[in-house]
């Protein structure tokens, strides 16, 4: 479904990742530094940044891409295609393919934040800074209990799928739209979020259930010590932004990451998970101000 956009891309294209998966990207505006908005895929695609692109691209070159498994990118169905390394490699593919030598990376949740951190550690000269919304760094602290419980029975056929039991492979095959509605209702719990939920559900159901299932089979490859070591290796400035009511990523993760990296943390009181979508003005101004401080440091 094509919705009217406030800002159309100036350039759009398709890149091929080393494993042959096609990755669709878009570029908006011009102006240094480039800001790359990482996807939260495969559950949603690059339109998750619709509240940021028109504003940021007035002053900056903004690059977005659809993560593998959704949007205009390919939708692989084998778990290997969703390894942690593949996600990080897609950031490299897009940086290289769009001629982006250096950029500020902005991400939401694990797919955005953790992969930005890993890429920054691999390519320290190419990442000017990271803005991390809903700081999704796995293993840093325990997950929310509802994920622990539903994760334990993800592959089981259950007699009924109520509440977080909908986070289940069998249920996804049978009623993925209902899962998507449940999921985004849960993690977008603030009042007056109906439009954001409607959008997110639409992006989810336009993606691939098979890709979601494949991704769910991947085991996260690092233990807590390794995760912390990687985080400590980040050399660029970071800004952490986390809602005090985040239902997806515990705020303890953001606090822990702030503690071990010294990065400033903005705690948004009363906010749930989808801060860029639910509080676009706040998110945009935080990104703007963060990027402005980088420019000062460069000069």
């Amino acid at each position: 479904m094509s919705d009217g956009r406030a800002r159309l891309p100036d350039e759009a294209g398709r890149l091929i990742a080393p494993d042959g998966v096609g990755i669709a990207y878009e570029v908006f505006g011009s102006g240094e530094p480039t800001i790359v908005l990482l996807p939260s895929a495969p559950i949603i695609h690059s339109r998750q940044w619709k509240g940021q692109v028109p504003y940021l691209s007035r002053r900056h070159r903004v690059v977005t891409f659809d993560g593998r498994g959704n949007g205009a990118s390919d939708r692989p169905t084998e778990p290997e295609a969703f390894s942690d390394d593949c996600y990080v490699s897609d950031v490299a593919t897009v940086m290289d393919g769009t001629g982006t030598d250096r950029a500020v990376l902005v991400g939401l949740c694990t797919d955005g934040v953790w992969r930005a951190i890993r890429y920054a550690v691999q390519q320290p000269d190419r990442v000017l800074g990271i803005v991390a919304f809903a700081v999704g760094v796995p293993r840093l602290t325990p997950s929310h209990p509802h994920y622990v419980a539903s994760g334990a029975t993800f592959d089981d056929e259950l007699p009924a799928y109520e509440g977080w039991n909908k986070y289940n492979g069998h249920y996804w095959r049978q009623s993925y739209p209902d899962f998507a509605r449940f999921f985004f209702d849960e993690i977008t719990s603030e009042p007056h979020s109906t439009k954001l939920i409607e959008d997110a559900v639409e992006w989810a159901v336009s993606g691939s259930v098979e890709s979601m299932l494949a991704e769910a089979q991947v085991t996260f490859p690092f233990d807590r010590e390794a995760v912390e070591a990687i985080c400590r290796d980040v050399r660029c400035p970071m800004l952490l932004v986390h809602g005090t009511e985040d239902t997806c990523q515990p705020i303890a993760r953001a606090r822990r990451l702030a503690e071990i990296t010294g990065a400033p943390l903005v705690e948004v009181e009363g906010a749930d998970h989808m801060i860029p979508g639910r509080h676009p003005v706040l998110a945009n101004l935080l990104i703007r101000d963060f990027v402005a401080t980088l420019a000062l440091e460069v000069s």
Binding site: L128, E190, P191, H192, T194, K195, E198, R235, C236, P237, A258, E259, T261, G262, A263, P264, L265, V266, E267, V268, E269, G270, A271, R278, H279, L282, L294, E297, V298
Partner: protein, 331 residues
């Protein structure tokens, strides 16, 4: 590049609307929310012992006077217009008698439309405003008509949004009862009655504004309007319900005749904005009013009764364009 890390610190930011959802029924008005733009000057006028509170924003030119509407809500119903318009123009608002920071007189005649028009002029006087472009939503369109007709020298343009001025095709409504009759149950449109208001003012407001804001994703607008309704009380609005308003002045009660008579006497340029999904006042009202005024008519596709709240960007640009057009025209 030198990576400089700032000290760990935490800023606490409270976004608007982050509080828990609350049921309208039986709830109280919340403390006023923070504003995107605060007034540069506030004041109170007094006419016949009734105090009416006004606010001024910005110093630009010309002045635009944002009129009150039905006193079920107050001047914050312009909250999405004020910050934008005040960047370019001088904006004056006032709370209609019966709500907000204005008095709640207890006599019917105090709520006549002529009193609202006279308040408008008193506010122009108090703010040192010779002439203004006036704008009104719904019943505020009737107050705008009265003001433009009675005080033509003070009004240089008029904007009518979702005009509820006795024109337009009827909209079928289940359960409607005569205002002073007690309905068998309080549900839907039967709440639109003195008994329904007294029974549960908050529940009426919740229902009514769900009809005003019938577009999807209007939860915030509904919550705001219900809050403003809870700033007044059913007895005040019941009193105001019997006041003179356009057609009620006519001996034969012909709404259409009265309104069209007023509209034909308006001499200033005018603009009519109406949503074609308006569930309170049929869009044909906007068409007929625009025709009688010889006004520019803008129909907003898919919009309900209050595009000020639900389509602020579109409305603001239309208002700004209209105001600019008047400012540029000679004389």
């Amino acid at each position: 590049m030198v990576a400089v890390r700032t000290r760990p610190d935490r800023a606490v930011v409270r976004p608007e609307g982050s509080g828990p959802p609350s049921a309208a029924a039986g709830r109280r008005a919340q403390p006023e929310q923070t504003r995107a733009r605060n007034p540069d000057e506030t004041g109170v006028i007094e006419r016949d012992g009734v105090h009416v509170a006004w606010e001024r924003y910005g110093d630009g030119s010309p002045t635009i006077l944002l009129l009150p509407t039905w006193s079920i809500i107050h001047s914050r119903h312009w909250k999405a217009q004020i910050p934008y318009l005040a960047r370019h123009h001088r904006v004056v608002t006032f709370d209609g008698r019966g709500n907000g920071r204005s008095d709640r007189p207890t006599t019917v005649a105090a709520y006549d439309d002529t009193e609202f028009a006279a308040d408008a002029i008193a506010v122009l006087d108090a703010t040192g405003t010779d002439r203004a472009i006036i704008a009104g939503l719904s019943m505020g369109a009737g107050y705008a008509l009265q003001t433009a007709v009675r005080y033509p020298d003070r009004v240089s343009g008029a904007i009518f949004v979702g005009p509820s001025v006795g024109l337009g095709d009827p909209i079928p409504r289940a359960g409607v009862v005569p205002f002073h009759e007690v309905p068998p149950t309080f549900d839907g449109w039967s709440r639109y009655s003195a008994a329904g208001w007294r029974h549960d003012w908050g529940a009426f407001a919740e229902f009514f504004f769900s009809q005003v804001f019938n577009e999807p994703h209007s939860t915030k607008q509904i919550e705001d309007a219900v809050d403003w309704a809870l700033d007044t009380d059913p007895e005040t609005i019941i009193t105001a319900e019997n006041a003179a308003y356009l057609a009620r002045l006519e001996a034969d009660g012909s709404a259409e005749k009265a309104t069209l008579g007023y509209a034909r006497r308006v001499r200033c340029p005018s603009l009519v904005i109406h949503g074609d999904a308006d569930a309170i006042t049929h869009v044909s009202a906007g068409r007929r009013l625009a025709e009688a005024l010889g006004a520019r008519l803008v129909i907003l596709a898919g919009s309900g009764h209050d595009p000020l709240g639900r389509e602020p960007v579109k409305v603001n640009l239309l208002m700004h364009e209209f105001i600019e057009g008047i400012s540029r025209s000679p004389g």
